[in-house]
């Protein structure tokens, strides 16, 4: 009851004051209202109820999909100047295909647990991007706002990389540093597929953007695709995350084909204990090296090293914790939706997408193969035995790939746990891909 009194007196006071004061005060609001209304009346023509229903029908999605010649424009975050009219395919059948594809991605993410953290936001972004008339990927649409906020300027992939850095433990690499070489060999996945992409007819810059899928690293792929071939961003990101999820399917046959049973049964020694200072200094060493050799790679490696340094410093745990949790989660949501905007039919359903899918698969396979072969070579020349399987982990796809290695290893010889040995090449593969990315950027600078 007291509440009611409050409200009534609030009304009363407001009304009394405003009406008294407005009389002698500023008359603008009234004129504004009139002006606005006349503007409205110009815009809005009275319609009969059936005309109103008819014009409503024009705004439905059913009509947009059925009507072939509606002249809908593509949605571009860069604004209307970058837009073009959609073809009839893009505005009708294309959307349907893309929505089916989105449902397949949902199925894989939920039922098969394929990289759901990225695939669900990407696929949902793709769903939204294919809604007719809503123009959600445009400059003022939700997806376009997100795209301009953090993808066009490459900010979100770097923040993800920062969080991944804060989650990464370089201990296994520091304990057995020479396994880093395996993370280098696997980058053949990038450069080998680059040749393949050129052979397939892509230009050099596009081919480079596609080949980065072989880096098996999400943020790096998005970063490079955005720089070198932004039109292909959606296909490249989807390919990268899909194949990362398919690592348990793609890698084992290649690993088995290139090794014999004796090699796969090799046991590796216990890793030495790594000093805390080694872990602390390591990100600094990496960033200094990339500064000296390859400044183009420093955005990626710098963000990664910052996250790792913050974690290993041990004095800013609340920041490191934020990088690993709320910040990376927020950015993951936005990054996924923003990338998903590139799954609009007019951007995704082009012939290039087929090529990107094929080259991505080649890249993963080539990287795996070269990693295993290099591990075989190293095993020959090393004092300590090296199980060639761990070379496959060099593609990165952290930590899926290392787990696959461990699984295959223990199948061949129960009790042989290779996980920690595979983590070395695995994290080295992340650095290797960032370096490879830097080389590609420096070429096209």
């Amino acid at each position: 009851m007291k509440i009611k009194q409050f409200l009534i007196s609030l009304f009363f006071v407001l009304f009394a004051l405003t009406s008294v004061v407005q009389a002698g005060g500023h008359p603008a609001p009234a004129t504004d209202a009139v002006a606005e209304e006349s503007a409205e009346e110009k815009v809005y023509q009275p319609k009969s109820i059936s005309e109103l229903m008819g014009s409503f029908w024009e705004t439905t999605g059913i009509n947009a999909i059925i009507d072939i010649d509606d002249g809908e424009m593509t949605a571009e975050p860069a604004g209307p100047s970058a837009e073009r009219p959609m073809t009839w395919f893009e505005s009708s059948l294309g959307r349907i295909i893309m929505i089916i594809l989105v449902f397949i991605l949902f199925y894989l993410a939920i039922a098969k647990n394929f990289e759901p953290l990225l695939l669900i936001p990407i696929a949902f972004g793709g769903l939204l991007a294919n809604i007719p008339l809503a123009h959600m990927g445009g400059e003022h649409g939700m997806l376009g706002v997100i795209y301009n906020m953090g993808i066009a300027n490459e900010f979100f992939p770097l923040l993800i990389f920062m969080g991944v850095g804060a989650m990464t433990d370089f201990g296994p690499l520091l304990a057995n540093p020479k396994t880093a070489i395996l993370g280098g060999a696997a980058q053949f996945g990038i450069f080998g597929s680059l040749i393949g992409a050129v052979a397939m007819g892509f230009g050099l810059q596009e081919a480079s953007a596609i080949s980065i899928i072989g880096g098996a690293d999400g943020p790096t792929s998005i970063f490079i695709a955005n720089r070198l071939a932004p039109d292909m961003l959606g296909a490249i990101a989807v390919a990268a995350y899909s194949y990362m999820a398919l690592v348990p399917v793609i890698q084992p046959p290649i690993m088995r084909a290139l090794t014999n049973k004796a090699e796969r049964q090799i046991k590796m020694g216990v890793q030495r204990k790594v000093h805390r200072l080694e872990k602390l200094i390591f990100p600094i060493v990496v960033i200094m090296l990339s500064m000296l050799i390859l400044p183009e790679s420093t955005p990626l490696i710098g963000a990664f090293a910052f996250g790792n340094f913050a974690k290993e410093s041990g004095v800013v745990d609340r920041l490191s914790d934020t990088m690993q949790n709320s910040l990376i989660n927020i950015v993951t949501i936005f990054l996924g939706l923003g990338v998903g905007s590139k799954l609009a039919a007019d951007k995704f359903l082009v012939l290039e997408t087929m090529g990107i899918m094929i080259i991505g698969l080649i890249a993963f396979s080539a990287g795996t193969a070269m990693g295993v072969l290099m591990a075989k070579v190293m095993n020959k020349f090393s004092d300590e035995p090296i199980n060639p399987l761990i070379g496959a982990a060099g593609v990165s796809a952290v930590p899926m790939s290392a787990r696959v290695v461990s699984k295959v290893g223990s199948e061949e010889r129960p009790g042989n746990v290779l996980l920690m040995h595979a983590m070395g090449p695995n994290v080295a593969g992340v650095i290797g891909s960032a370096v490879a990315a830097g080389v590609l950027l420096s070429i096209f600078k």
Partner: protein, 80 residues
């Protein structure tokens, strides 16, 4: 589009790229070995776990964070 010179260029890119990647990682391996040698020589870790005070502080901090997180998760119940 399949021009020979593009293929040749991409091959050269591969040579350059793989060289730089290996160069980088080999340098990295050497630095890791060097720092491991230097650190374990000049800052040998005391045998028992809670040796250095800094690491100790970090452990305490982690424990404290755990307490916060546990409390926060309790607190989440009130969220609407």
């Amino acid at each position: 589009m399949e021009e020979v010179n593009l293929l040749a260029e991409s091959f050269k890119f591969m040579i350059l790229g793989m060289s730089v990647v290996f160069l980088f990682l080999i340098a990295l391996v050497q630095f890791i070995k060097l720092q491991a040698y230097l650190i374990n020589k000049y800052f040998p870790e005391a045998p028992p776990a809670p040796a250095t005070p800094v690491a100790n502080t970090s452990e305490d901090e982690n424990k404290r964070v755990a307490a916060i997180i546990a409390a926060v998760s309790e607190f989440r119940k009130n969220k609407s």
